[in-house]
C-alpha cells in the first residue's frame, strides 16, 4: 500500500473556523495515523469484516467533522465490501480512503 502524501493538498474541515469544533477536529485528525494503519493492515491481511467496520465508522463521522470527502469515499468502500467485491477490485477505494485520511488537517 502506498503511503499517503501529506504534502499533497491538505484538506481542511468545513468547520475549521468554528471555535466549538476546533478541539474535536484536532482529535479527529490526530487519530488518522492509527486509522490509516488499521485500514492498511486489515486490507493486507484480508480482515474484511473489520475493514467494513472501519469504513462504516468513517462514513458515519467524516462529514460531521467537516470532512465530507471522507464520508463519501468511506461509503463507497463500505458498499463494495457489502457486495463482496473481490479484494483487488476494491483497491482503488482503499487507496483513496487512505490518501484522503492522510491529508486531513485542522
Amino acid at each position: 500500500m502506498p503511503k499517503p502524501d501529506a504534502k499533497a493538498s491538505p484538506i481542511r474541515s468545513d468547520f475549521a473556523d468554528d471555535a466549538d469544533m476546533a478541539e474535536l477536529i484536532a482529535m479527529f485528525v490526530g487519530e488518522m495515523p492509527n486509522r490509516i494503519s488499521a485500514i492498511t493492515e486489515c486490507y493486507e491481511e484480508q480482515r474484511l469484516t473489520e475493514l467494513q467496520t472501519l469504513a462504516h465508522q468513517l462514513k458515519g463521522s467524516g462529514s460531521g467533522y467537516g470532512f465530507e470527502p471522507v464520508s463519501q469515499i468511506a461509503a463507497q468502500l463500505e458498499s463494495a465490501l457489502k457486495s463482496h467485491v473481490e479484494l483487488e477490485a476494491m483497491r482503488n477505494e482503499v487507496e483513496s480512503l487512505i490518501d484522503i485520511c492522510g491529508r486531513l488537517s485542522c
Binding site: 466549538d20 469544533m21 474535536l24 482529535m27 479527529f28 467496520t53 462504516h56 465508522q57 462514513k59 458515519g60 463521522s61 467524516g62 462529514s63 460531521g64 467533522y65 464520508s71 463500505e78
Partner: protein, 312 residues
C-alpha cells in the same frame, strides 16, 4: 403538579465515541442535558433510571444490536413511552420500516446533517412535552386544578398497598362543602364555582407536596395525607376548616361557606381494600354533617372497632 421540564434529558446510545463527542458539542446550543454511552445494555439501565425525554439510538452497534435495544425499551413499561430517534448507517427501507414499526418516532441516516438532526430532536422533544401534558390533563379536574377521581383511585390503591407492605401510616380525608346546593340556588353557579376553586386553593396551601388532593364529586373532595396519623391529619384539616370559614366571598360577603370533614387512618374491615378506607372516611364525614356541620370528625372517636391508639 409537575411542571414541564426546563432542561430535558437526552440519552445518546452510540458505539462511536467520535459521534458522541460530536453530538455533545453540537447539541450544547439546544439546552438539553446529555447523557452518553457506547453500550446498549448500559443505555437500557440509564433509560430506566433516569427516564430521559428522548433517546437517540444507533442501530449499528456491535455488542448489542440497536434493534434489540429498541425492542427492550418498548417492552419495558418504564421506558416504553420515551420517544426514540434511531440513527443508522443504513438507508435501506427494510431497516427504516423495522425501526418505525418497533416504535421509533424518527429515523435519521448517517452521516447526518447536523442542523437536520437537531431539528428532528427538537420536534421529538415537543412531542414528548405534549404527551406529558396530555397525560396530566387527563387526570386533572378542569375547574379546580386538583387531581380527578381516576387519579385519586390509583393513588389510594398505591397507598393502601404500601400500608399493607410496610405499615406506613396515612390518613384519608373526605370532605364536602356544606349547603352547597343552597349556595348555588341562592347565588347562582358562579358562586358555586368560586367556592370550589377557592376551597381547592386553600387546600393546596395547607397540604404538603407529597399529599394528594382530589375533587371526588360535585362538591366532594378526598385527600390522602401521607405519613400522617389521624390526630395529625385532624389538626392539619382543622386549619383548613377555619381558613374556609373565615373567608369573605366577593359574590356574597354576608354568607360564609363551611365544610364537613371525615378523617380516618384505618379501614373498616379488610385494610387491603381501598373501599374500606373510603367507607370509614365517608362515615366520619356524615357524622360531622349530622352533628352541626363545619367540623372535623375523627373516625376513631366513634368507630367501635377502631384499632387501639399507639402507645406514647
Amino acid at each position: 403538579m409537575p411542571l414541564p421540564e426546563k432542561q430535558p434529558t437526552v440519552l445518546l446510545i452510540d458505539d462511536s465515541v467520535e459521534i458522541l463527542r460530536l453530538l455533545e458539542v453540537r447539541l450544547r446550543a439546544d439546552n438539553v442535558h446529555l447523557i452518553t454511552t457506547t453500550n446498549g445494555l448500559d443505555g437500557l439501565r440509564i433509560a430506566t433510571e433516569r427516564r430521559p425525554a428522548l433517546i437517540l439510538l444507533d442501530l449499528d452497534m456491535p455488542m448489542m444490536d440497536g434493534f434489540e435495544v429498541l425492542r427492550e425499551l418498548k417492552d419495558n413499561a418504564s421506558t416504553a413511552n420515551i420517544p426514540v430517534i434511531v440513527i443508522s448507517g443504513s438507508a435501506d427501507t427494510v431497516d427504516k420500516v423495522a425501526g418505525f414499526d418497533l416504535g421509533a418516532v424518527d429515523y435519521v441516516c448517517k452521516p447526518f446533517n447536523m442542523p437536520e438532526l437537531r431539528a428532528r430532536m427538537r420536534s421529538a422533544l415537543r412531542i414528548h412535552q405534549l404527551m406529558q401534558l396530555l397525560a396530566q390533563r387527563a387526570q386533572i379536574d378542569g375547574l379546580t386544578g386538583l387531581w380527578n377521581r381516576a387519579y385519586f383511585d390509583d393513588r389510594l390503591a398505591e397507598e393502601v398497598a404500601g400500608h399493607r407492605r410496610t405499615k406506613r401510616p396515612f390518613s384519608l380525608v373526605m370532605c364536602d362543602l356544606d349547603l352547597f346546593k343552597s349556595l348555588n340556588d341562592t347565588h347562582g353557579h358562579p358562586a358555586g364555582d368560586a367556592a370550589l376553586q377557592g376551597f381547592a386553593t386553600q387546600m393546596l396551601s395547607v397540604l404538603r407536596k407529597e399529599d394528594v388532593a382530589c375533587r371526588y364529586g360535585g362538591e366532594e373532595f378526598a385527600l390522602i395525607l401521607r405519613e400522617t396519623d389521624a390526630t395529625q391529619a385532624c389538626a392539619l384539616v382543622e386549619r383548613l376548616r377555619v381558613m374556609l370559614e373565615s373567608t369573605r366571598w366577593a359574590l356574597h360577603p354576608e354568607r360564609t361557606i363551611t365544610a364537613s370533614f371525615g378523617v380516618c387512618d384505618f379501614a373498616l374491615g379488610d385494610p387491603a381494600l381501598p373501599e374500606n378506607w373510603l367507607k370509614n372516611a365517608d362515615n366520619a364525614m356524615y357524622y360531622a354533617k349530622k352533628h352541626g356541620r363545619n367540623k372535623v370528625h375523627n373516625a376513631a372517636d366513634t368507630e367501635p372497632n377502631a384499632p387501639l391508639a399507639k402507645a406514647g
